[in-house]
Symmetry: C2
Subunit: 319 residues, 2 copies
């Protein structure tokens, strides 16, 4: 019932901006992609998925294999989880239902330790991987996604049957990266998922938080000396936290992300959209756990701590 | 032309909430008080000054000695400056015009080094003092002031003819405190003005800034665990900064102000009113100079630095 190795069957759990974008790109590359949807099921089943991409032009996947229930999906070899970290517990049974035996579950979420809760709720036979998406994308309406820039995905192995076999684990991660690469998407197999997550935090900690705190998108944040310095100081603290936790990030990595952001089109990070729509902010994954991990390693991150406390106040008063 | 020692003549330069409140209290205690006004001159000359006080009940000073120009004022023995720190340079000539020979100029403003610019613009013969007001008061309309709680003023000597005579200097500061005390206002003569200013910063740094950053008054800030911790962390940094600059604040001082604030009625600090009315925020006095003074003493204050940078971004985008 599952797809072949050369054309694995891919399930998208949570067809928002991230799941929708990568799902459409993979489907256009010839993969057999199945989309699980909730509120947008009817719109997508009827009208398909539309991506307004500044990189690829307008994309339209008309014949979407759309499902409103995981039980209706065929068993998938790869499952891409693009939902919010705050909903992981409720997603676990859906993932298990849609998974072929030995399936690979790739969690496309930001933050630290986002797989840990899922892991305890999934069968041991499933591989769990994490993916960090460097992309400017947001949902514009039912079945409609706007892709502004970038698109790379860095992948690492979290846990599962290959946990203790480094070589086989890495081969599987490379298989995952290969899927994206065949769809024209830049993708790196990371030897260390935790390090990959810390690297992504170098971007998310400053920009996600400051977008909410200062009600500002990337262009104004990068146009003011004070916010630029604050971004850099927060990035430097993430790098210090990573280091304290044993992850030496590549030299100049923060500067690289800072420069990438300068060249990006004006972008509102996902946390701002959550704030605007009065949804829970992903504070645990992006702030609480990194702060706790750094502290456990004897490293205080005072500016991130202050930013987190301010955001927690805003979040509590926003819902 | 000046008043007697027992009944000195007092001029109020900038009859906003602070100048208006203390001016009315002093006038009601029998002092000869003269008020300099700008936009509110006509309203006050006609209708007087009204204070809606939660402490004293409604107060009305009907026959206000009001002036629209400093040149029209009689020479005053004491001048109370209640305007924003951001306008000090333009106030200096008005102060000089209204000052009797050897007059005492008391700057009722928050922040560090707020007297320094004034000093260079005033005659050497004038005494310059600073006063720190612990009071919840705001302007409600032309000639109308709301007094919610507290009222104490701590006074210290900045510079002038008595600069090198500690005993005479302290006697003059006590004379100033005595004016307020005779009006029923708690007032302390502080031996060290810089220390007094650092003490007041323990309150202003967290509450002024967070009121703007989080659009929150004191009650919500004191009702949330995260903002409470953030307030305490910012207070602790001010205490460290003071210490680095050689000012050992009284033991438990931050805890004392924290508890006072818990018992206060819900209060919007003055910086929030400035933000709301798109006026310049007093960032130099409350943040830039304390940060620079601490840094010059080898002490970094990372959370205050982050708060300042966020506020500077907000301020730049607010005007």
């Amino acid at each position: 019932m599952t797809g072949s190795v050369s054309r694995p069957r891919i399930g998208i759990i949570g067809t928002g901006a991230i799941g929708g974008y990568y799902g459409v790109m993979l489907a256009r590359a010839g993969f057999d992609v199945h989309f699980l949807l909730r509120s947008e099921f009817a719109a997508v089943a009827e009208g398909g998925l539309h991506i307004d991409s500044a990189v690829h032009g307008p994309l339209h996947l008309s014949a979407v294999q759309a499902y409103s229930q995981a039980a209706d999906m065929p068993p998938c070899d790869w499952l891409l989880v693009g939902a919010k970290t705050t909903s992981n517990a409720s997603l676990a049974p859906l993932i298990a239902q849609a998974a072929a035996p030995g399936a690979k579950v790739l969690v496309l979420q930001n933050g630290l330790e986002v797989e840990d809760e899922l892991r305890t709720l999934l069968p041991d036979s499933l591989h769990l991987l994490g993916g960090l998406c460097f992309i400017c994308v947001h949902r514009a309406g039912p079945g409609a996604i706007v892709h502004q820039a970038l698109g790379a995905v860095n992948i690492g192995y979290h846990s599962g049957p290959l946990q203790h076999d480094a070589a086989a684990r890495q081969a599987l991660v490379e298989e995952g990266a290969g899927l994206f690469q065949r769809a024209g998407i830049e993708s790196q197999a990371m030897a260390n998922l935790q390090q990959a997550r810390w690297q992504k935090l170098v971007w998310n900690v400053p920009y996600n938080g400051l977008s909410v705190l200062l009600r500002a998108s990337t262009t104004p944040l990068m146009s003011d000396d004070n916010s630029r310095e604050l971004v850099q100081a927060l990035m430097a603290e993430v790098v210090r936290g990573a280091q304290a936790c044993g992850h030496e990030l590549p030299a100049g990595y923060a500067e690289h992300l800072f420069k990438v952001t300068e060249k990006m089109p004006d972008y509102w990070p996902s946390m701002y959209h959550d704030f605007l729509h009065k949804r829970a902010l992903e504070l645990d994954a992006v702030y609480v756990r990194p702060l706790a991990a750094a502290r456990a390693a004897g490293c205080e991150l005072p500016k991130i701590q202050a930013l987190y406390q301010a955001l927690a106040f805003i979040d509590a008063n926003n819902r």
